[in-house]
C-alpha cells in the first residue's frame, strides 16, 4: 500500500492541484445555480479570460505582473458577473434553459474574441519567480508552484466555507439556495443577492484562470474542458452545496489525475462513470443544498 502510494504520489498531488482549482471554479457555479437557477455556461470562458490576462500582464515574468493579473482578473470577473446578472434578469421567469442558452451565447462570443485577440496558439505562462523550481516531497521532486496552488485552493475553500456557513451573509445565501421566495417575502431583494453572488462567483472563475495559467497555459478550448469538469463536480457534489463542491472537486481531481495515470485508456470513461455512478446512487448529488417544494 505504501509502495503504491509512493509510486503514485506525483499523480495524487496533481489530483489535489486540479481539485483545488476545480473547487474554486465549481463553488461559484454551484451557488449561483442552486440559488438563482442561473446555469452560467460562461463560467469556463471567464476562467479563460483570467488565463489570457496572465499572458497580457506577463504574469510569468515577475511578481508584479502576476499580482497585477490577479487584481485585474478579480475586477473583470466581478464586473462580468454583475453584467451577466443584469442580462439574465429579463429571463428570470423563463425556463432555466433560456438563461443557459444566453450564457452559452456569451461564452461563445467571449471565446471567439479571445481567439481573435490572442490567436489560436497555446500560450504558456511561467510561474512567478521563486516558484519555478521543484520541491522535494517524500523523495519526489514536485513543482513548487503546484504545491502553492494546492495551498491556495485549500485556503480559499476554507474562506468560502467560513463565509457561507458561519456569517450572516452566508446564512442569507444558504436561505436563498433553500427557498428564495421566502427570502423575498421577508423584504430582501433577490436581485441584489444575485448580483453579489454572480459577481463573486465569476471573480473566483477569473482568479482561478490566472492561478491555473502556469499549469495549463492559455489556449482555445480550455474554457470548455474546464466548464465540463466544473459541471461534473457540481452534479456530483449537489447543487448549492459548498461541502458538495469541495468533495466533488477533490474526487474529480483524483479521477482526472490518478485515473489518467493508472488507466490512461479509460480516463474519460472513469470521469463520466463516476458521474453516472453518483447519479444512480444519489440522484440529487452527494450533498444536495436545494430544497424541492411545490
Amino acid at each position: 500500500m505504501i509502495g503504491w502510494f509512493d509510486a503514485n504520489l506525483v499523480s495524487i498531488l496533481n489530483g489535489f492541484a486540479i481539485g483545488s482549482l476545480l473547487f474554486i471554479l465549481a463553488v461559484g457555479l454551484s451557488i449561483v445555480f442552486g440559488m438563482m437557477d442561473v446555469l452560467n455556461l460562461a463560467h469556463g470562458a471567464f476562467f479563460l479570460v483570467g488565463s489570457y490576462l496572465s499572458v497580457t500582464f506577463l504574469a510569468g515574468a515577475s511578481w508584479g505582473g502576476f499580482l497585477t493579473a490577479l487584481g485585474v482578473a478579480a475586477l473583470v470577473g466581478l464586473l462580468a458577473g454583475g453584467v451577466l446578472s443584469g442580462m439574465t434578469e429579463p429571463l428570470a421567469r423563463r425556463p432555466i434553459l433560456d438563461q443557459a442558452l444566453l450564457t452559452l451565447g456569451i461564452s461563445l462570443i467571449v471565446a471567439e474574441v479571445l481567439s481573435i485577440v490572442y490567436g489560436n496558439d497555446v500560450r504558456s505562462v511561467r510561474p512567478p519567480p521563486g516558484l519555478r523550481g521543484s520541491t522535494d516531497v517524500a523523495g519526489d521532486a514536485y513543482p513548487t508552484y503546484r504545491l502553492l496552488l494546492i495551498g491556495i485552493g485549500l485556503a480559499l475553500a476554507l474562506v468560502v466555507w467560513l463565509v457561507v456557513e458561519r456569517t450572516s451573509v452566508g446564512a442569507l445565501v444558504r436561505a436563498s439556495v433553500a427557498d428564495r421566495e421566502m427570502v423575498s417575502a421577508m423584504g430582501i431583494d433577490n436581485r441584489k443577492v444575485k448580483v453579489a453572488v454572480l459577481g463573486l462567483g465569476s471573480m473566483l472563475a477569473t482568479v482561478a484562470g490566472v492561478l491555473a495559467a502556469p499549469v495549463y497555459g492559455a489556449r482555445p478550448g480550455l474554457d470548455e474542458t474546464i466548464l465540463l469538469l466544473a459541471l461534473v463536480v457540481i452534479v456530483i457534489g449537489g447543487l448549492g452545496s459548498i461541502r458538495g463542491a469541495l468533495i466533488g472537486a477533490l474526487v474529480i481531481g483524483q479521477v482526472e489525475s490518478l485515473g489518467r495515470a493508472l488507466l490512461p485508456d479509460l480516463a474519460s470513461f472513469i470521469l463520466f462513470g463516476t458521474l453516472a455512478l453518483v447519479l444512480v446512487v444519489r440522484p440529487r448529488g452527494l450533498f444536495a443544498g436545494k430544497v424541492a417544494h411545490s
Partner: protein, 233 residues
C-alpha cells in the same frame, strides 16, 4: 388596512382568482375558509406578489402594491407564514431569527426576545437546524420569521395543517398574542375550531371569489351557511 378589489390571477392558462373583493380592518383577524382548490393559497400568494395579478388592485394602508415584487410588498408591511411553513432546512433557528430581525429591527414591537416570549419552544431549539424540528416547531419558526420583520399585516396559510391538537392550541395562542400587539391578520384555515377561536370575522371563498362575509359570531350562529359553503355541519 388591506383592501382588495376585483383581483384576478392564476397560473399559465388557468385563472384561479375570478375577481376577489376583500377588506381587513386594522387590528382585525379575518379567518378565510373554503374547500380545497378554491383559490385560498393563490389569493395569499397574489397578495404577497409571489403570483402576479392580472387585474384588480391590492392596497396596504392605502398604498397600491398590485403587481409589485414580494420584497416590495414585504417592506410595505406584510409578513407571510406560508402553507407548508417553508422554513430553510439547513439554517439553524438562530440564523432564521437573525436574518428576519435584521430586516425588521426597530420598525415595531417585535424583536428576538419578544418573539421567544410568544413562542418559548423556539428558545430551546435555537441551535437546531430547521430541518430537524417537528412540524409544530417549524410552524412556530415560520411565524417568528414573519413577525420579526415587524409587519402590520400577517398572511397565514393553513397554520394548523398537519399539527397535533395541543400544538394547534399553541399556534392559536400565538395568533392571539400577535393580535394583542395590534397586528392585522388574514388566516387561511381548514380547522374551524382554530378559525373560530382566533377570527373576528369570517370570509368564505368558492371558485375564486369571496362568497360570504360575516362576523365570526354570526357565522357560528347559522350553521346552515357553513354547511352550504363548506360542506360541514
Amino acid at each position: 388596512m388591506l383592501e382588495v378589489r376585483g383581483l384576478r390571477s392564476g397560473y399559465r392558462r388557468s385563472t384561479v382568482l375570478q375577481g376577489v373583493d376583500l377588506d381587513v380592518g386594522a387590528g382585525r383577524v379575518l379567518g378565510l375558509l373554503g374547500r380545497n382548490g378554491v383559490g385560498k393559497t393563490t389569493l395569499v400568494h397574489t397578495l404577497m406578489g409571489l403570483v402576479t395579478a392580472t387585474a384588480g388592485t391590492v392596497r396596504i394602508d392605502g398604498r397600491d402594491v398590485t403587481g409589485r415584487r414580494p420584497d416590495v410588498v414585504a417592506r410595505a408591511g406584510v409578513g407571510l407564514v406560508p402553507q407548508g411553513r417553508r422554513v430553510w432546512p439547513p439554517l439553524t433557528v438562530t440564523e432564521h431569527l437573525d436574518l428576519a430581525a435584521r430586516r425588521g429591527r426597530g420598525a415595531g414591537p417585535w424583536d428576538v426576545p419578544r418573539v421567544l416570549e410568544l413562542l418559548p419552544r423556539l428558545g430551546e431549539r435555537r441551535r437546531h437546524a430547521a430541518g430537524q424540528l417537528s412540524g409544530g416547531e417549524q410552524q412556530m419558526l415560520a411565524i417568528a420569521r414573519a413577525l420579526l420583520t415587524n409587519p402590520r399585516l400577517v398572511l397565514m396559510d393553513e397554520p394548523s395543517d398537519g399539527l397535533a391538537p395541543a400544538v394547534v392550541d399553541q399556534i392559536g395562542g400565538a395568533i392571539g398574542g400577535m393580535k394583542a400587539e395590534g397586528v392585522t391578520l388574514l388566516v387561511v384555515e381548514q380547522d374551524l375550531h382554530l378559525a373560530f377561536a382566533v377570527a373576528d370575522d369570517i370570509a368564505v371563498m368558492d371558485k375564486g371569489r369571496i362568497v360570504h362575509r360575516s362576523s365570526t359570531r354570526e357565522f357560528r350562529s347559522d350553521s346552515s351557511v357553513a354547511h352550504a359553503l363548506l360542506g360541514v355541519a
